[in-house]
Subunit: 288 residues, 6 copies
Amino acid sequence: MLNKQIDSFLGLGTEYNTAKVVLFGAPFDGTTSYRPGTRFGSNAIRRESYGIESYSPYQDRDAADYPFFDSGDIDLTIGDTERVLAQIEERTATILKDNKIPFMLGGEHLVTLGSMRAIAKKYPDVHIVHFDAHADLREDYLGNTLSHATVLRRCYDIIGKGKIYQFGIRSGTKEEFQFAKEHTHIFPFDLESVAKEVEALKDKPVYFTLDLDVLDPSIFPGTGTPEAGGVTFEKLREACYIVTKNCNIIGLDVNELSPPYDTSGISTVLACKIVRELLITVLSKEEK
Amino acid sequence: MLNKQIDSFLGLGTEYNTAKVVLFGAPFDGTTSYRPGTRFGSNAIRRESYGIESYSPYQDRDAADYPFFDSGDIDLTIGDTERVLAQIEERTATILKDNKIPFMLGGEHLVTLGSMRAIAKKYPDVHIVHFDAHADLREDYLGNTLSHATVLRRCYDIIGKGKIYQFGIRSGTKEEFQFAKEHTHIFPFDLESVAKEVEALKDKPVYFTLDLDVLDPSIFPGTGTPEAGGVTFEKLREACYIVTKNCNIIGLDVNELSPPYDTSGISTVLACKIVRELLITVLSKEEK
Amino acid sequence: MLNKQIDSFLGLGTEYNTAKVVLFGAPFDGTTSYRPGTRFGSNAIRRESYGIESYSPYQDRDAADYPFFDSGDIDLTIGDTERVLAQIEERTATILKDNKIPFMLGGEHLVTLGSMRAIAKKYPDVHIVHFDAHADLREDYLGNTLSHATVLRRCYDIIGKGKIYQFGIRSGTKEEFQFAKEHTHIFPFDLESVAKEVEALKDKPVYFTLDLDVLDPSIFPGTGTPEAGGVTFEKLREACYIVTKNCNIIGLDVNELSPPYDTSGISTVLACKIVRELLITVLSKEEK
Amino acid sequence: MLNKQIDSFLGLGTEYNTAKVVLFGAPFDGTTSYRPGTRFGSNAIRRESYGIESYSPYQDRDAADYPFFDSGDIDLTIGDTERVLAQIEERTATILKDNKIPFMLGGEHLVTLGSMRAIAKKYPDVHIVHFDAHADLREDYLGNTLSHATVLRRCYDIIGKGKIYQFGIRSGTKEEFQFAKEHTHIFPFDLESVAKEVEALKDKPVYFTLDLDVLDPSIFPGTGTPEAGGVTFEKLREACYIVTKNCNIIGLDVNELSPPYDTSGISTVLACKIVRELLITVLSKEEK
Amino acid sequence: MLNKQIDSFLGLGTEYNTAKVVLFGAPFDGTTSYRPGTRFGSNAIRRESYGIESYSPYQDRDAADYPFFDSGDIDLTIGDTERVLAQIEERTATILKDNKIPFMLGGEHLVTLGSMRAIAKKYPDVHIVHFDAHADLREDYLGNTLSHATVLRRCYDIIGKGKIYQFGIRSGTKEEFQFAKEHTHIFPFDLESVAKEVEALKDKPVYFTLDLDVLDPSIFPGTGTPEAGGVTFEKLREACYIVTKNCNIIGLDVNELSPPYDTSGISTVLACKIVRELLITVLSKEEK
Amino acid sequence: MLNKQIDSFLGLGTEYNTAKVVLFGAPFDGTTSYRPGTRFGSNAIRRESYGIESYSPYQDRDAADYPFFDSGDIDLTIGDTERVLAQIEERTATILKDNKIPFMLGGEHLVTLGSMRAIAKKYPDVHIVHFDAHADLREDYLGNTLSHATVLRRCYDIIGKGKIYQFGIRSGTKEEFQFAKEHTHIFPFDLESVAKEVEALKDKPVYFTLDLDVLDPSIFPGTGTPEAGGVTFEKLREACYIVTKNCNIIGLDVNELSPPYDTSGISTVLACKIVRELLITVLSKEEK
């Protein structure tokens, strides 16, 4: 008899019950003002992950040796932003309730708000580490308070002043940079700054949100708002390692991969590799 | 001294005040469940229209000789479907109030609902002629009542039974086809049927909504949900002529062009040509 | 608790045990001499099938109402043609042994040989109905006897003279057309010929192999060797209906979709629709 | 010892001396106002011709059996239109002097003027059969008298009134259609008209210029100014056969293939097939 | 009443009369020998500029606060190189006459010659700062003295020895490098060299011509002749700042963006950002 | 009379007899498990080489001054891996017999095995310098011992322990890295390591195999298995220079360019430049 074929990240994963980290996709790009397509991101990562190795030579560990579970994409109600956020919050809450770490694959950056609503209920003192090219701190965008361009501002509304650490920001309005100076911690993207700030966060629950457009568009063209002057893959990989190794990560997400603009496919493969590295670091700590 | 450059359909147009038909774009694809991109449709039509002639050998008339005005794209609040519909309704109402004919360029098909809300207020007895591959008659879609897949059902809710004439439908759920049999007029796409039904509509105010995916995907690949087995350009062109020549057109729209999937550009150029033909027919009748 | 996500054609299907038709993918393009990519065909059909309806207005039936099972892609040993054929033969034999109908999604056309080896063992009197742009009757191709360009010749070697019915062929060498005249039945692609020949096959077990490049490249650009002058979708759909409705179909395949050359995606969506139609016709007969 | 690799159409051809037809490429698109790229046309035809058979089932003849010679692309002085035309005229004149038939592969349509200058010197009574979507009869275009949009007008200047037979024209300015009515013969594209006019041309030397955009953009998307409403491949193939079989062809060209817009490659393969058919018809007549 | 939609760079700009810098497009690629498409460059920059912020965090200034005017693309006579140069010269002369700074967006690099002809008339002692991957110093190219590959040589003919400063050149013939050594100043692209040479130019009127292919093709793939081994965005941005901050810029241009080869769009967005930075630096100096 | 057109790398080359280096293409991608297309690599390099200069400013030498011969692509028996390897071995052996240096252009990396079989017969003590992102040291891959993922292991089987020097490897299974530690020399990609190891190889015959995916995918997206974190062009160029300048190169290859995934063309142009640099270095040494 033949078995049904199962698609999951790297074709791997344990049962839900024994998993420590639970992946899920949030295929939403409803507030994307410029070039849509991130809705295809999570699925592309899952599908193209077959083309990479599960073994990381950087960490000398194999993702196959760790207990994670890929719960697939949420069936979102496209066209109704508030309901989408509620659906994401619900999935995150379920995973948190079962004492597992939610790892969300976007989707546009607004999906982080859905996740944070659940996170903040369980961890009122949560701090956010935020890698991004854009500040995402607008009060509203084109008349909308719920937008990829306002998402960190909305997170700020929930968790409060001084709890967001932003790295790599190189685009925004004058007002956003002003707001950052006064209400968040904002740094250029260098490994020393990352390491130093992470040290300060040691005793806090940390949510890590990675907007992949923090990368230079040369290595990550497949995104909605490419912004020249970004970081290299190696630098991002090391910074991710520093954050996930040293912080108490209670949830994380990787977002803004837009496969339709990734004509050669290099962005998707890179995203797969970053997700693998994050998975291994988070899970190998759990192991101890 | 140098003048600012003006972009409009065919690079043509009179002042707003003297125009009989007013074009506007509704760059919205917020409920698109599958492949987004129609938000770029209206702008692509405007831009690529420079590549075609303003003269129609089919009608032996030149668009340059008629008074229309291209009022550009509406600045829509992406991510908030209800507000987008209100913004479209407002633009349509303004044009109607000035006793001009609104000609909307989508965008996904849901934009028609915004326009119809204004139309039905001015013309309570409006009838709809609808060319499409899909019935768009669902009660809701993925939990949403406002969707490209429900738009004609929502129009039905406004104007009532027996007032929608559908041609070319070749995809839908069993329930949609059942609903159509009982509540709308549904026909295969042949010129005889079009001519005969149009005859019956002679004394009614008619809104014409053209979903370009009624065309065969071979000639119109640039759309979100291509559906094999569609009509040829020549057949569509003739049917459009029959409808706009013989009906009392009080508003119209052309939608579902998705330029990102139109890799060779043939879909956009075709859309330009259809808009030119429609403009000339509607305006040359006004002329009399 | 969360369940794993299951991918199958149309997201549908029963258990293997109760299924009457079993789908499987044969993602092979190892002998493709010109433009590779059909290896991605079966997976693309599965994935893009989510964008179409399960209901067929042509047949007024819904695929959701019939027992089929999608057993996924075979893990083929890329680079070793003989082993690949053996792997396909094995999958087909398993399905046949369980008294189900194998429905293979290619892959290049050579995959048909793997399937036919199993079929001919169970049904020694099998006849083949073959829709294609190319004769595929070479003795060898570029020094290879196992090739997409020789596959029907190899089938001929197994089942013998006068048992292959070819429709739509419009390319080949002089020798192939000569061979066809003498050893197979070859016809232009018109519905009358199809209907007439199918009548003659009424009492025979029939294997139906559909090379999608029989279609005109305008409607099916996503294939390795596009050949102008092909049939329309409507004609193909009707011919498929005639064959599967009237013949005793004991196995079938659909092949030569090459998604990398299907830049707008219309070829893949068309393939999904044809597979849906074939599934429904074959299964609705079983029903009786 | 190893031989150098030779690229030629279909990988075939005799020595120049024994050839009856001489192919050459004119990779020019210098006056293209809209989307350039036809400069890559002739080379793409040569390269992709390896993917088609040399045997024509339509004519039951094989191009391998006839004496033609592919003399490659001319090294044109890009950026200097008059010099380019002189270079084309020179190549054509050389071939004519050697009593061979020149068969030019464009490039944009203006290249026909270079060829016609040489042709008209040897054959003052030459008539032109012209298949095209566009009239190409402007007096000037964007201030230029030498343009793809004026090329037939310039040919008219050389050969005079009543000697140009145009088929398939479906785009132009009002003035061009007026000019055509008065100075050329202009017909819709149907096989009866072609056959009838060709009959009248029986005793004249005929130059055949084929702008491939006469085809419907669905089957020939790879061109600079796609114009919906064109002819099918089958119709074009038959019309080409009628013209080349029955006229005294003293030169011919095929132009306006723009590979960069031919994303799936179907346009180039179609062009290869048309060139093969034309070659075989012209050469098999010579044979007698 | 509705207003016409105005397209300009960043959607910004004052009246012509109050502007200090005047943008214009020169959509010409007539001498491009390899891959055309730069004709679409200026329009793409204008269109895609909507996707970036007007605020520069690098300079902490907002383009919205400065008086510039976008006068749109010139209607060039495609196919007639000398006339095109005259048309560009005329536009530049008009702007200079009004005591404004012309900022041209190409187009291929030859457009610089049109601009320089006007510049040199007003500023006989003009010096050129030239960023490029290619020397562009050929005496002629493929028989043409007016070419993208000869443009700096033609500028040299006008302004004379020792007045051209070239940075980033990594491709050319042996003769071009020899010529550069003897007649221009040629340097590797490092910020120290730029700063040092700029210091020497302090009292001179300087025209800045930026061929964007000086960038590495990884970050700027959308260009006709990509040349590996180029500079990073950050380095270019800083060098542009040094030049425009410290020199007396009396005119400038940015050229060689070819959108058709910019499949992911990252090149166009980068070009927008560079134009924004240049605009702000030049205008904020004027401010003083 | 007209001569046939000859295509060769850079349009250059001497007669075979006087050549010191002989180029040939091995257009094979039969074992490619993920994304095929390298079969088009060698031809694309040849074709696009027309767009670069033959002069190298890095070495101040011109490829036009050296005796090499481009013998074109081998006609490989696609679909039969062992025969393909034999065909490559034969071509290599012919060139070696004539005391010339074989320079193979892939194709996928497995082609190196064909070449090495001939090389090892003439040079039993051959050592290999290997630049790659992937270890390629698997014992078998998907059941296949002949694969792009096993090619260096198969070379190891021929030449034995300690003779392979690998640089740039950043992907592989745990087992491959273990094997490398014990049986090959494996180094990070830095110029110091390359220089040091090359010094040790001074008296050995060296085969240089360059898998272009050693480059970062940002600068070389056109490859089947892009792997983030690679080297820059400048670093690769310098390392190639060190290896070919200082080693006794008795054969070399450049492989894994996959043009279908090289949407902007930058990968192919880069490959042309690297081949030019390698050719010049190897040949200018011969000169002495």
